[in-house]
Subunit: 242 residues, 2 copies
């Protein structure tokens, strides 16, 4: 029935990804894929809401170390650009203006990063954000052909890499997200869309005193220091929909 049932190699890779019991295994899989596609580099990089980072890929370790040391995460136009969009994006279409971005690019080039790149952003609840990137050194038209041909492979691979990485994420369980009660959810939601406490209380037809109890209890459950923090956490954890 399925479109894809006749592609044993994709099946194999996905099966290997799904069976992986340790994050280290992803490294060998991604190296295999790099060779299969005959590109310079292939990288899966994931950032969770609490700042945890994990990555596997074929970048020069020196470049990875420098990237972390320099805090390039907040400069890299690939990360910034992908953070704000959903679709796979060619590096050429990103915003490389700005002093910091250009300095970053020359530094990357000096460390052997290819002039072409294609990155697939992946998002999940709890502010999860991951990138699956392919990079290469070649001419524009050759790169266009490559991405056109392999886009769908890469989307699927990005998805399964992320699935496996999330499954194996070590610091996942401790975040025992305490569920909010319906009233607390309503309260947080209305606060997140700009209502003042008085307006929220009015909207929910309860007294402002009662409302404060909800804010307090939600704040406690979310481990937040103040109302703004509580709303931010509730959003980041996907407990409210704004």
């Amino acid at each position: 029935m399925g479109f894809l049932e006749r592609v044993p190699q994709l099946d194999d890779v996905i099966a290997r990804l799904e069976c992986a019991a340790r994050l280290e295994e992803l490294q060998s899989i991604i190296e295999w894929l790099r060779d299969y596609y005959a590109v310079d580099d292939m990288v899966y990089h994931w950032v969770s809401s609490n700042g945890t980072q994990y990555g596997c890929g074929t970048y020069d370790p020196k470049w990875v170390a420098r990237y972390l040391e320099k805090g390039y995460l907040r400069v890299d136009p690939v990360v910034i650009g992908c953070y704000q969009r959903f679709h796979p994006v060619d590096w050429k279409r990103l915003d490389w203006s700005g002093k910091a971005a250009r300095a970053f690019m020359t530094d990357a080039m000096a460390h052997g990063i290819g002039n072409q790149g294609y990155s697939i952003p992946i998002r999940g609840p709890n502010g999860q954000f991951a990138l699956f990137t392919v990079s290469h050194t070649c001419a524009d038209d050759e790169w266009a052909r490559f991405t056109e041909l392999n886009r769908r492979d890469l989307i699927l691979l990005a998805h399964y890499f992320n699935q496996t990485a999330l499954k194996l994420e070590p610091g996942r369980k401790p975040e025992a997200t305490q569920p909010l009660s319906p009233r607390e959810v309503e309260t947080m939601t209305l606060l997140a869309v700009g209502y003042s406490r008085a307006q929220v209380a009015d909207t929910l037809s309860i007294s402002e005193h009662t409302l404060r109890v909800y804010i307090e209890s939600a704040r406690f459950k979310l481990g937040a220091l103040n109302t703004t923090h509580a709303v931010a956490r509730a959003m980041a954890r996907g407990q409210i929909v704004v």
Copy 2:
């Protein structure tokens, strides 16, 4: 090179999706897919951050109307469950306890919704959230075989449906996201992690007066009514990373 280059039918559907110039075309494509996979129903449903909803699919219009009228969006365990996870999920694995959920299920059954279902959540920045769902009436083992076989097709289709829907979304352009200055980003970020204004000013080594200017200007740029709203918007739009 690519794993998938030999699957012309998937190419065709994706090409049709990418060429679509109007949301109505998605409807005929999804009907075609429903027939191709020989399932009861197939639905793409998307909710944007401003509450806009869009859907196309093969559900009975009466059920869709009832769903909207009853506000089932906030009751439906499929939506609630998928909102908090990233991976495709079988309906059987969702939490159907709770009075509201059970009432919803019997109502859905009465409207001819299948007993089996498989939903793929899709997420983007700006709180975008979409669901691609396949539903059918059959036995558990038959359904397990179906999902096992077609999971990857469905992931790709979900992706391309979402891509097209976002591209065609009418209320998308007006959201001219005004970029925040570095200081404004720092301010919003620190507020989002629970710092008080005094703490933020201290951390940034500026006076609290200055800090207020940033908050005010960020609030203005974000079109926010207060600080909490500004932080929520900055987060939802991916302008700060918490």
